[in-house]
């Protein structure tokens, strides 16, 4: 292990779900692995290796980002929210509630990424049409639901505001 440990590392300061973290990371480490392996926040999932599926979607400084496309080192100084940080004081967000109410998930593997992508989308477009909702999900794949109930979940959240 000695050589591996001796590889160059970079220091990062990242705030995740309101908690400040300081770490020394390999330059090549993907942010999703920092979140999952270093911080143990396993709600952010990995479903592909081409940035296609969106299961790893998180918020960096309020914007929806696929955490498999970012090196941890690039996230230095940012504020991150993952799915674990969405509910406040045990109370589900309107988007989480929408997914539950409208049966917007089945296996649940894509769901954290869907919720993160959709809630960032509603920030920019609070009253979207169905077509706008569908296009907003271009970067997130679901193989279980056929998307209809995901659309309804987002409409539920939009309505609730």
């Amino acid at each position: 292990m000695s050589t591996a440990v001796a590889q160059s590392v970079v220091p990062v300061d990242i705030t995740v779900n309101g908690v400040e973290h300081h770490a020394e990371v390999e330059p090549r480490q993907l942010l999703v692995h920092f979140i999952r392996e270093t911080l143990g926040l396993t709600g952010t999932h990995v479903g592909c290796d081409t940035s296609s599926c969106g299961a790893c979607t998180i918020h960096i400084d309020g914007k929806s980002v696929k955490s498999c496309t970012v090196f941890t080192a690039q996230a230095d100084g940012t504020t991150i929210t993952t799915i674990e940080g969405v509910a406040k004081d045990g109370e589900l967000s309107a988007m989480q509630e929408g997914f539950w109410e409208e049966h917007g998930l089945q296996c649940g593997f894509c769901t954290p990424g869907m919720i993160m992508a959709a809630s960032a989308f509603l920030e920019t477009n609070p009253n979207p049409t169905e077509e706008e909702i569908r296009h907003s999900l271009e970067g997130n794949l679901c193989r279980c639901t056929g998307y209809q109930n995901i659309v309804k979940a987002i409409q539920y959240a939009a309505k609730k505001g």
Partner: protein, 795 residues
């Protein structure tokens, strides 16, 4: 301590929200990649870049020299492990069965075949080390097409399978009988169908984590499996040669399966064997998507030629089908059953066809193994027969809806034997579903609008596609499916155990398990109604061989019809004991008491009732039991169904096809499904939505392609066309209800119906839009390019 005395509200039939969801929407699910075991090591696989080659030399030394690498092995290090088992061989015929070893030895047969493994402290180091292993290959000729593989001079994959033929199987009448029926028909027409290869693509790939206990010699194996009990049995008895009880298998939360997670894969025994070699350190394998695409199973891949005969008024008189089924480089766990029992024997669809012959040739090629993918054989059968119905309509000039109506099995003809070796269809009203679908879709108005656009010379043509499907679920009676019949190498029953504990809180264990279908919700609804125990007091346990009775797992839409019936029958046993003990507590005879809404009382005296919770307490403390009664309310059932179930329905798809560009837009999708009685309509609706999307996607978007060198061209999610939200339509769902007589709930199964029905509905719609231009056939996926080419070729 004792739960509420009031009878809880009825739950069956209610669209209640799933109890699984709070953890999954909060990031608290526990998928295999989320497990953290102390001392866990990661493996990286070295995979062949060639589709067919001899392995000349493997040098693991460069990997072993790398920091963080603990071990590295080649196939010769695991010769004590037998090749993976073939659990379903085609019934009644010779099978030339070649299954893979955990790592290829001497020769590789597909690009992606694993040849060596490295073990490292983390996944990055494992990847680096796998790259460092040196392998020398001698390339061999490659074949990827099933028909070409059987031709003289084709490259040969396995000595045991001359001409690459796995088996040749047939059902129905003798070929000459069907040939005569075709010759005697008023009209005949033919159809060439390529039911293209698909990649199942659950969003969670597959993985295994194994931990060996050097003290006891026991293994714990976490797997992304739809059938953990079966995996334990197969690995113990057939791969490792150890007693089953030395292995505990656990399926954690599973991120979708669609069939691809039923099978026994190399990584399961491989991680176990490595954990033992390394003194019990947990070993983790979690494939990335590219590995998933090259080495986890694919689906479909049939090439089919059909001849059909009919009377001039559209009555189908004869059907002759020849199919080449590509099963890939090796024989996967249940690969043989898909193109035989689940395809050939379902080729009649909803129709009375007097003369049928199906021939199936299963073939090895240098491609990923092909096995069950959602629907598994039935989508291929439904696509063939529903395309045939439209072809007959075109040949006779009879409306496609009327062709179907004319040939339907009638409601009073059930149980119905199609004469090609399937069990008798249980119940149905095919015309009822068709009529409802025609009325709800405004079918006749759509036909008028279609003609108007043609007459007006409009650029956007309308296509109307029908699919009146029937499928087989709830497989299966063990005696029929088993070795002396259809060739399945075991039984196919299901199990359940119910324990009503001292507090009245109830634990149900089941051999079925979910990978997105909401078993914990549905099964709790069922038990709550039957036992009168509040829904929230009932916990459904599953997926762990320690603590659940043996079960065959979840696939083939069998969880409710077989697993649910096992639970239903167990509640009957609990009720029987509650009545006997309740009668004793009420100082009455067991014949004189009734059980209703969770209470037992003397007939005519419901006010002096004992609740099931009071009886459970009495059974547990056991201070005063009737003579000979055992303590505790604890009952188990092993249920072997007497028949399969046969869901059906009619789907209508309406498309607009741009005759200049070939672009397709689905403008309406209506599904009328009959899945029998429904426990939770919310969950059934979700199953249908997802199924429709997958089937529609086969018709329009998806296809897995290899080049002639055996390289998978659609080898990542950037290349393989999983549909996005903007590429699927709104689904309008409706239903008819024809309860199945096979099980006491009257359920038929809903997990695959959407996939089976939708591919032909969409495919028929596209061809229907352009048929007047002279187009009679387009292969899937019906991309704009292919549609445009078909129009150009016809004109």
């Amino acid at each position: 301590m004792v739960a509420s005395v009031d009878a809880p509200e009825k739950m069956v039939g209610k669209a209640i929200k799933r109890r699984e969801d709070p953890r999954l929407i909060s990031g608290a699910g526990q998928f295999i990649d989320d497990l953290r075991l102390p001392g866990m090591l990661h493996i990286g696989l070295v995979r062949s870049p060639f589709a067919h080659a001899k392995i000349k030399r493997i040098d693991i030394a460069p990997a072993l020299a790398m920091p963080g690498v603990v071990a590295a092995y080649t196939g010769s290090d695991f010769m004590e492990l037998n090749p993976l088992p073939a659990a379903w061989q085609a019934g009644g015929v010779t099978n030339h069965t070649v299954t893979p070893r955990v790592l290829a030895v001497e020769e590789v047969h597909l690009a992606g075949d694993p040849v060596a493994v490295v073990v490292a402290e983390n996944q990055y180091l494992a990847r680096d080390a796998a790259e460092a292993v040196i392998v020398e290959y001698e390339e061999l000729p490659v074949v990827v097409d099933a028909v070409k593989a059987t031709q003289p001079g084709a490259p040969q994959l396995h000595e045991e399978a001359p001409n690459n033929i796995v088996f040749e199987w047939a059902c129905g009448k003798d070929a000459d009988v069907v040939d005569r029926a075709l010759a005697d028909s008023d009209v005949t027409t033919s159809l060439h169908i390529i039911n293209q290869r698909l990649i199942p693509t659950p969003i969670e790939p597959r993985g295994s984590i194994a931990r060996y206990d050097p003290g006891t010699g026991d293994y714990t194996l976490w797997i992304t499996s739809q059938a953990p009990h079966v995996m334990r049995l197969l690995i113990a008895a057939f791969v490792m040669g150890i007693p089953e009880q030395k292995i505990r298998t656990i399926s954690p939360d599973i991120g979708g399966g669609f069939g691809a997670k039923i099978f026994c894969y190399y990584d399961m025994p491989l991680t176990m064997a490595i954990s033992k070699k390394l003194g019990g350190r947990p070993i983790k394998f979690f494939e990335d998507r590219i590995e998933n695409y090259v080495s986890t199973t694919h689906g479909r891949d049939h090439i089919t030629d059909i001849e059909v005969g009919a009377s001039s008024d559209g009555l189908i008189t004869a059907l002759k089908v020849k199919t080449w089924a590509n099963i890939g480089a090796y024989f996967s766990t249940i690969a043989a059953g898909i193109p035989t029992t689940l395809y050939g024997r379902m080729i009649a669809g909803c129709y009375k066809i007097p003369s049928i012959r199906v021939d199936v040739t299963a073939v090895y090629t240098n491609t990923a193994m092909v096995d069950a993918y959602r629907g598994a054989g039935r989508p291929e059968a439904a696509y063939a027969i529903e395309r045939v119905c439209d072809a007959v309509a075109a040949a006779t000039g009879v409306d496609p809806a009327e062709v179907r109506r004319k040939n339907f099995i009638q409601p009073d003809e059930f149980p119905y034997d199609t004469g090609i070796g399937m069990l008798p269809y249980d119940s149905g009203n095919y015309e009822g579903a068709l009529d409802k679908a025609l009325a709800l879709s405004g079918y006749h108005d759509l036909r008028a609008e279609q003609q108007r656009r043609i007459d007006a010379g409009e650029q956007k043509l309308l296509g109307i596609g029908l699919s009146s499907y029937v499928e087989v679920c709830g497989v299966a009676p063990s005696k029929w499916i088993g070795l002396s019949g259809e060739g399945w190498g075991a039984g196919l029953w299901e199990s359940a155990n119910i324990r009503v504990q001292l507090t009245g809180k109830t634990v149900v264990t089941t051999g079925s398990l979910p990978h997105g279908q909401g078993h914990e919700t549905t099964f709790a609804q069922l038990v709550s109604d039957k036992l009168g125990i509040p829904y929230d007091d009932i916990q459904i346990q599953h997926s762990d061989t320690l603590g659940t009775p043996f079960g065959f797992g979840s696939y083939g839409s069998r969880s409710l019809t077989v697993g649910g019936t096992a639970i239903f029958k167990t509640t009957d046993k609990v009720i029987d004991k509650v009545k006997r003990l309740g009668a004793h507590m009420l100082e009455a005879s067991a014949q004189d008491v009734e059980f209703e809404n969770g209470k037992v009382y003397v007939k005519g005296s419901p006010d002096a009732a004992k609740t099931i919770q009071e009886v459970a307490l009495a059974a547990h403390v056991a201070y005063d039991l009737p003579e000979g009664m055992e303590p505790f309310l604890d009952e188990t059932t092993y249920y072997d169904p007497p028949n399969c179930t046969f869901p059906f329905g009619t789907h209508v798809c309406v498309v607009e096809v741009d005759k200049e560009s070939g672009e397709v837009e689905v403008v309406k999708y209506l599904a009328v499904d009959d899945v029998g009685n429904v426990i939770n309509p919310l969950i059934v609706g979700g199953q249908l939505h997802g199924g429709i999307a997958q089937g529609l996607s086969q018709a329009l978007y998806e296809g897995a392609y290899y080049n002639d060198d055996g390289q998978l061209l659609t080898g990542s999610l950037a290349d393989y066309a999983i549909p996005k939200a903007s590429q699927v339509p709104w689904y309008d769902l409706d239903s008819t209800v024809t309860p199945s007589p096979v099980n006491p709930m009257g359920a038929k199964g809903a997990g695959e119906a959407g996939t089976i029905a939708s591919t032909p509905a969409v495919g028929n719609a596209v061809v229907d839009a352009v048929r007047h231009l002279g187009v009679s056939n387009i292969q899937m996926p019906m991309t704009p390019e292919r549609i445009w080419a078909a129009i150009k070729q016809a004109s």
